[in-house]
């Protein structure tokens, strides 16, 4: 095992696939991450976020495909890789009988730190995550927020170059969520951070790049960039839905149409995803007027992550419903 190559990007995943028995959890996922980026992995529950993280941290071996982190192959150089990665699994598992300080000392030693280095590293993470008041408590007596902070603290002990956080704000109250968010912001730039969440607002606030997963497939590796290339129009139209869809779909630049709200008595509200080019709203209004379909509302919705996420993750059956 030689020294790892120091070239950017720091994480490269190539056609990762993971099967659990007959079920495929991750299918053909490829992406790369540059050093210092804060990557948000967004997707509904069961979309494959945790499985991807487990493969990147060497906990799981891919069924096919390869991944490397900090120059180490996750399957063949897994032990060396673990010195470069700090990982906080979902639900922040801790040993209930261990006191916080004892747990952190144990993890520090396990990560290769010894003696004074281990002690100073524990002191540093205790101070950084404001754990002073709970340092002598058994982990079983900690609140959800403190458990999360202790789990993050153990991941930082060996100053890893890559930090992987699986649902770090899950189950936290708003104050705790803000604290974790601030911590991730602090870490940004100093190390590469991967954060998984199914809470869109969280990811939008901390990530410099957002990847969206659905059913194990990577739908976009830069949803924020996509949101700047896309416009969303909300319109209310009275008339047969099929006819409205055909009319609007025929306008050049329109990518997709989905129903936001449907009422038998009133007009139907549609959300249209279209290319970011001028005149599309006018074209839609014109084509509806030509077909004598009553248009009662047409507004541009500011492009944001939510719109991209909804447009990308809407399953065919939901559309049909």
């Amino acid at each position: 095992m030689g020294s790892p190559p120091m070239s950017s990007p720091i994480i490269v995943a190539h056609q990762l696939v993971k099967w659990y028995g007959p079920r495929v959890a991750v299918r053909d996922v490829s992406f790369s991450v540059d050093a210092g980026e804060v990557i948000g992995l967004l997707g509904p529950n069961g979309s494959g976020k945790s499985t991807i993280f487990r493969m990147l941290t060497g906990y799981l071996t891919p069924s096919s495909g390869t991944a490397s982190v900090a120059g180490y192959d996750t399957a063949t150089d897994s032990l060396a890789l673990r010195h470069e990665v700090g990982y906080v699994p979902e639900d922040s598992p801790l040993y209930g009988h261990m006191r916080v300080a004892e747990f952190l000392r144990f993890m520090a030693r396990l990560k290769g730190l010894s003696g004074r280095a281990a002690r100073s590293s524990v002191d540093a993470v205790v101070a950084r995550l404001h754990l002073e008041t709970v340092v002598n408590l058994p982990a079983a007596k900690l609140s959800r927020g403190y458990r999360q902070r202790v789990a993050i603290a153990q991941a930082l002990l060996h100053e890893p170059r890559v930090l992987v956080l699986d649902e770090p704000t899950s189950g936290l109250d708003p104050h705790q969520v803000i604290a974790v968010r601030e911590l991730i912001r602090e870490l940004a730039g100093k190390r590469t951070v991967l954060v998984a969440s199914h809470v869109l607002s969280e990811i939008a606030q901390i990530a410099s790049r957002v990847m969206i997963l659905l059913d194990g497939k990577l739908l976009t590796s830069d949803a924020l960039k996509r949101s700047t290339r896309t416009q969303y129009l909300r319109l209310a139209v009275t008339g047969p839905e099929a006819e409205v869809r055909v009319c609007i779909g025929a306008v050049p630049g329109v990518r997709s149409i989905s129903i936001e709200a449907n009422s038998a008595a009133l007009s139907t509200r549609y959300l249209v995803e279209a290319d970011q080019q001028p005149g599309i709203a006018q074209d839609i209004a014109n084509v509806l007027a030509d077909r004598r379909l009553a248009l009662s509302e047409l507004v541009a919705v500011p492009p944001d992550l939510e719109q991209v996420f909804l447009a990308l993750t809407r399953r065919p059956e939901e559309e049909a419903a």
Binding site: Y59, L60, T61, Y87, P89, P93, L94, H97, L110, G112
Partner: protein, 233 residues
């Protein structure tokens, strides 16, 4: 090696904090103490043979309780993910858990040595069978702990792990009774799987390499399979 030692220490501390360990040791000592006293007063013979057979049975019943949590609990808590993403190997984790559980068994055996000391002070025991009996119990204990560890590695549920290892132990305890009913050469094969069959010579003062090899082979096989079970994910 360093990772192994850190994990071993953590396991020993976990046992120290576990009420189960205290209960197991207490029950073991109470039953052994009662049995030793009663037998000595009735027979007036300075021997521990009968105690060794009782310890054999108690090991079959208590080892599943000691080993059930070893890996199943880590899986249930999710801490196994934290361990296996730290720079330690599956082999180190399995050996650390095995060694820590063996420490508890050795403690139980060490405390029971007080009976041998009492015999030595107030009588003139034949020390050969006493040493061979303890050697047999150590080898038996190692095999039982390894199999219990394997049971804990293949399930997330501690109760299922305990029942699984207990079933295997009870089956291997009485398997020679069934073995004698089978035609050749299956009878020899099955009878040789008997835990009690390989223990009797140790308890009565005879040490055969084949008996020691049986327990050592069972220990190594179960440890190997435990590592594979932990690595399979």
């Amino acid at each position: 090696m360093r990772g192994w030692a850190i994990l071993w220490l953590k396991e020993v501390r976990a046992l120290y904090f576990s009420p189960i360990a205290y209960v197991v040791v207490a029950v073991f000592l109470v039953i052994m103490g009662y049995s030793f006293t009663l037998t000595l007063f009735i027979s007036h013979v300075p021997t521990l043979v009968h105690l060794f057979f009782q310890m054999f049975v108690l090991f079959l019943l208590t080892v599943p309780i000691i080993t059930m949590r070893l890996i199943a609990e880590e899986r249930k808590l999710g801490t196994i993910e934290m361990l296996l993403t730290a720079p330690v190997t599956e082999v180190q984790i399995v050996l650390a858990k095995f060694a820590a559980s063996m420490c508890l068994l050795m403690l139980m055996l060490g405390l029971s040595a007080v009976y041998a000391i009492v015999l030595g002070i107030y009588g003139d025991p034949d020390w050969g069978p006493i040493f061979s009996g303890y050697l047999g119990l150590v080898l038996l204990g190692a095999a039982l702990v390894a199999v219990g560890l394997l049971a804990s590695a293949v399930t997330i549920n501690q109760i299922i792990a305990a029942l699984l290892s207990l079933s295997v132990f009870l089956l291997l305890w009485i398997i020679d009774d069934f073995g004698y009913l089978l035609p050749e050469p299956f009878d020899t094969l099955v009878v040789n799987l008997s835990l009690s069959g390989h223990f009797k010579p140790f308890a009565t003062g005879s040490v055969y390499l084949s008996d020691a090899a049986f327990y050592l082979s069972a220990t190594l096989l179960a440890l190997f399979l435990s590592v594979r079970a932990l690595a399979w994910r």
